[in-house]
């Protein structure tokens, strides 16, 4: 009897041990980076999933992405069910994707979606960019630049302005250098402005094609400020930055749309005397929205060619300063001798890898851009209907060096001076004048 009870008990234990109370894993629907979509619904599912798993701001974003699924899935399913005589219109397609992405925090986020020929009654295309700011300028960047340069000419020491304004704003960076009188006789302030962070790439281009017609002109402002090796840092005494008569520096990144982080070390890191902790970044480390890696320090190195002594450095930035321009602003702000004057920046600071060759980074970090970059860049291709979408979004979540959130918020100035169009129209750049006063007076 006792023996029977023992073995029945043992049997019960073994039986209990084999009871599985665990949830089943999800069905594998493939990598959203390279899914082929033949229906509106499958395209929606691929894009929704890509954002669900790969968007890096889910811990901060207030959008209820599951609710968006419930709301928009029936809309895309209904598109597929349309009769041939009532095709989906461009406006309907655009509205559906605009609504899906509305309010998301990532200020880099841009999506291009195409109902390709494989999709019944297709040929619609949508382009979304949901990032919004609570303030903006009422003039274009190029007009603001024109007015600010006009005001700069009034402040510059005559004959010192070196400028390069390319005809195509997507080509070489425009760049501007001049000297401004300091507080005392013989003292100067060096001013340098550039319109995007492709200075090192520009150098590489002219290294390969030195006889290009605008090679000298395009590099002249940077050479005047940094010296001939501007792509490596500040050359001692060859550029004005290290000149003893220069008592302060103004770096102007207003209207700067960003570019490559490759520029940060030679152009901004060289203004310091040691490596600078700008902030922290992290990527995804799994399938869940909140599966994050550890934070990694984002340090901009100081190149061997750097500013030989500390001088007051003011960075001028505003809501038109984007991405790398914001990183540069954060870096200068973090320097002991750095001050940020101007407006809160745009707020697109998450690090990002994009482009045909770098789209693989989605498969490395499981975050950031996904889809077909070639379509994003070149538009629909009748011979290439595999991919019908591309989402351009941050690969890295970045915070500042106090773990403060900057994405969608922007970098806060030390001294806030708002963009003033009416003063600019009168020929006065109030932000530039405040920077000059700061260096001359010390506060």
């Amino acid at each position: 009897m006792r023996k029977d009870a023992f073995f029945y008990g043992l049997l019960l234990l073994v039986t209990l041990s084999n009871v599985s109370c665990r949830k089943e894993p999800l069905e594998n629907r493939g990598n959203p980076n390279n899914l082929i979509c033949k229906t509106y619904l499958s395209q929606f599912e691929a894009i929704w999933s890509g954002m669900d798993q790969g968007y890096v701001f889910w811990d901060r974003d207030t959008v209820d992405w599951d609710a968006r699924y419930e709301e928009y899935r029936p809309i895309f399913a209904a598109f597929d069910a349309r009769p041939a005589n009532k095709p989906v219109t461009q406006i309907e397609y655009m509205e559906a994707y605009t609504g899906l992405f509305a309010g998301l925090l990532d200020h880099h986020l841009t999506g291009r979606f195409y109902a390709a020929k494989g999709i019944p009654h297709g040929q619609c295309e949508a382009f979304v960019s949901p990032g919004t700011n609570d303030y903006y300028h009422s003039v274009s960047n190029s007009e603001a630049l024109r007015l600010q340069l006009k005001a700069l000419r009034k402040r510059a020491v005559p004959g010192t302005l070196v400028e390069y304004s390319p005809s195509n704003e997507y080509g070489n960076p425009g760049s501007y250098f001049c000297l401004i009188p300091g507080a005392n006789d013989g003292e100067l302030i060096a001013y340098f402005r550039f319109t995007n962070f492709y200075m090192v790439q520009m150098h590489q281009k002219y290294q390969w094609y030195p006889n290009s017609p605008d090679s000298q002109k395009a590099q002249a402002p940077a050479r005047a400020f940094y010296g001939p090796l501007y792509h490596e840092g500040i050359t001692t005494e060859a550029g004005y930055a290290n000149n003893d008569s220069v008592v302060g520096i103004i770096i102007d990144v207003r209207g700067n749309g960003g570019g490559s982080v490759e520029d940060l070390e030679p152009l901004i890191g060289s203004l310091s005397q040691s490596p600078t902790l700008v902030g922290y970044t992290r990527v995804k480390e799994g399938y869940g929205r909140l599966d994050y890696s550890a934070w990694s320090e984002s340090i901009v190195k100081c190149p061997s060619l750097h500013l030989n002594k500390q001088k007051p450095i003011v960075v001028l930035a505003d809501v038109t300063s984007v991405s790398c321009a914001e990183l540069a602003t954060m870096l200068i702000k973090a320097l002991p001798n750095g001050t940020f004057i101007g407006e809160r920046t745009y707020g697109a600071i998450g690090g990002l890898y994009s482009g045909g060759a770098t789209n693989i980074y989605h498969d490395l970090f499981y975050s950031g851009c996904f889809g077909d970059y070639q379509y994003f860049e070149d538009g629909p291709d009748p011979y290439h209907d595999n991919f019908t979408y591309y989402v351009y979004t941050s690969t890295f979540h970045m915070v500042d060096n106090t773990y403060g959130d900057v994405e969608g918020v922007g970098v806060q100035p030390d001294i806030e001076i708002r963009f003033n169009l009416s003063r600019l129209d009168e020929g006065t750049d109030n932000q530039l004048d405040r920077a000059i006063r700061f260096i001359r007076v010390g506060h």
């Binding site: 006792r2 009870a5 023992f6 008990g9 043992l10 234990l13 073994v14 209990l16 041990s17 009871v19 109370c21 665990r22 949830k23 089943e24 894993p25 999800l26 594998n28 629907r29 493939g30 990598n31 999933s49 669900d52 798993q53 811990d59 992405w65 599951d66 699924y69 982080v261 940060l264 700008v278 902030g279 970044t281 992290r282 990527v283 480390e285 799994g286 399938y287 869940g288 929205r289 909140l290 599966d291 890696s293 550890a294 934070w295 990694s296 320090e297 984002s298 340090i299 901009v300 190195k301 990183l327 690090g351 693989i360 498969d363 490395l364 970090f365 499981y366 690969t395 890295f396 970045m398």
Partner: protein, 243 residues
């Protein structure tokens, strides 16, 4: 904390257990007097465990989680034996449920190798029935349920830094995310072991035990959530004193 305390304790207990076994086997007479007339016991146990972190990475096929990862176990146990062959046991066990993630990505000339070792301290409270047979050396089989709490996490490894475009090593305490991390754990426990009596009142034993968690380590904070579970297999030795 668990590591520092447990490793010497485990070694000590194993030595005591090994030293005691000849005495157990040779002391038949004293052994005849053992647990059947005694009802309550208390004791300590220690050992090591191997944890299996179960997660389906869906399409993320180059992100691998090691099958097992070693941790340490240390616990207090209480027992009540209404019958010679049946007892009810409980206690509190500090157990590590560790895992390791390797993510090697290769694309033509590019090769990135990222990894994270996650060390997780749990307290588990089992409640189980134990069936026992034998006289000199007793054989036990037991099973029941356990509840637990995720006390602390630590992670160490290599990730990638954007601005520096290089690897970045980290070694830090894990900061729990209230929205994601489910720190409450429950599950089944079962196993088997051997024991013997020494000095009349002290039972020394060793066992192998499974802690099979049925709670996802993540809260259901998103619809498309892939579950993650821990299964720890513990090898423990211990001493109990019978009142």
């Amino acid at each position: 904390m668990i590591n520092r305390l447990t490793i010497p304790i485990v070694r000590g207990l194993l030595l005591v257990w090994l030293a005691a076994m000849p005495a157990v086997l040779s002391a038949q007479e004293e052994v005849q007097a053992e647990p059947r007339t005694r009802h309550f016991s208390f004791g300590i146990t220690a050992g090591m465990d191997r944890n299996y972190h179960s997660v389906d990475m869906v399409y993320m096929s180059d992100m691998k989680f090691d099958k097992f990862r070693t941790g340490t176990v240390f616990g207090l146990r209480l027992g009540y034996a209404p019958l010679k062959w049946l007892s009810i046991n409980t206690g509190a066990v500090l157990i590590q449920k560790n895992y390791h993630m390797d993510h090697v990505f290769e694309y033509y000339y590019l090769r990135y190798s990222l990894n994270t070792t996650s060390t997780n301290d749990y307290v588990n409270i089992p409640l189980e029935l134990k069936l026992s047979v034998g006289k000199t050396v007793r054989l036990h089989a037991f099973g029941g349920v356990f509840g637990g709490y995720w006390l602390k996490g630590h992670r160490k490894g290599v990730t990638y830094s954007f601005s520096n475009e290089r690897y970045y090593s980290f070694d830090e305490d894990y900061e729990f995310n209230d929205k994601r991390d489910n720190r409450i754990e429950k599950g089944f426990t079962w196993g088997a072991g051997l024991s013997g009596m020494i000095l009349g009142k002290i039972e020394v034993g060793a066992e192998i035990r499974w802690y099979y968690s049925i709670t996802d380590i993540q809260k259901p904070y998103m619809t498309n959530l892939n579950p993650r579970y821990n299964t720890a297999v513990a090898f423990q030795a211990g001493l109990s004193y019978w009142l």
